[in-house]
């Protein structure tokens, strides 16, 4: 709770909030890496999942990555870096292939899976808020989501954010 920082029962309590707006495999990393690292450094963390970020709270994650519209995505291959022409991801199966390549690379380089990072975040008491409006809009239900999350709106997030030392939008 943020009140903890005010009441001073943690000597060096800092706090951070992150608005999570993107739900692809690649974009799921920055918020979860920062949230877990911060929690490990005794920083109180609140994550607000909205729009395409909301499905990151689903029990079963099926995250994908696409090279479409992403010329910056260059995969290491045979000692070089390969970008994919924008035409390619339109072909059925190519995004699945790219996702598999990315997941293999993640495993090979000892990078945690999003599932593992999320579990670590839950363990370290990162507060997670699902956006009510997004749930209504895309017809998601709380039953499909992991336990221990809260549901709230913009005001819930803002009440939290005004007391935070760091506020990020990802």
């Amino acid at each position: 709770m943020l009140d903890k920082a005010k009441s001073g029962d943690m000597s060096n309590a800092k706090s951070m909030s992150i608005i999570v707006t993107k739900g692809t495999l690649d974009w799921a990393y920055p918020p979860f890496i920062l949230a877990t690292a911060a929690a490990a450094m005794d920083i109180d963390v609140t994550m607000f999942f909205t729009f395409y970020g909301l499905p990151l709270l689903n029990k079963n994650l099926d995250l994908k990555v696409s090279t479409l519209g992403n010329p910056a995505m260059k995969m290491p291959m045979a000692g070089m870096h390969m970008a994919m022409p924008n035409l390619m991801p339109m072909i059925p199966g190519v995004d699945r292939m790219t996702t598999t390549m990315m997941k293999n690379l993640i495993k090979k380089k000892g990078v945690a899976s999003i599932e593992d990072l999320r579990e670590a975040a839950v363990e370290m008491d990162v507060k997670m808020i699902g956006c009510q409006m997004t749930m209504d809009l895309f017809e998601f239900s709380k039953e499909d989501m992991i336990d221990g999350i809260e549901i709230g709106g913009a005001a819930t997030y803002l009440e939290n954010a005004v007391n935070c030392d760091i506020n990020l939008y990802i």
Binding site: T36, A37, A39, A40, M41, A112
Partner: protein, 74 residues
Amino acid sequence: MAEHVLNAEGLNCPLPIIKAKKALKSVPQGEILMVRSTDPGSVADFAAFCNQTGNELVSSNTEGNVYTFEIKHN
């Protein structure tokens, strides 16, 4: 004094930090946790981690591709 060792070799950011935080919970205050890592970023990260959490980075060494840290639990 029991030896507290964390092997974080092969793990990438932010896992060494997260594992160290977890491991410190079972290290009595004043005792030292030895961490081994192969992530070059962990050199800067363990310094920052200790700075922020108030634990003391007693030593930080590089031997080839392996980084070792001694963290005193404060």
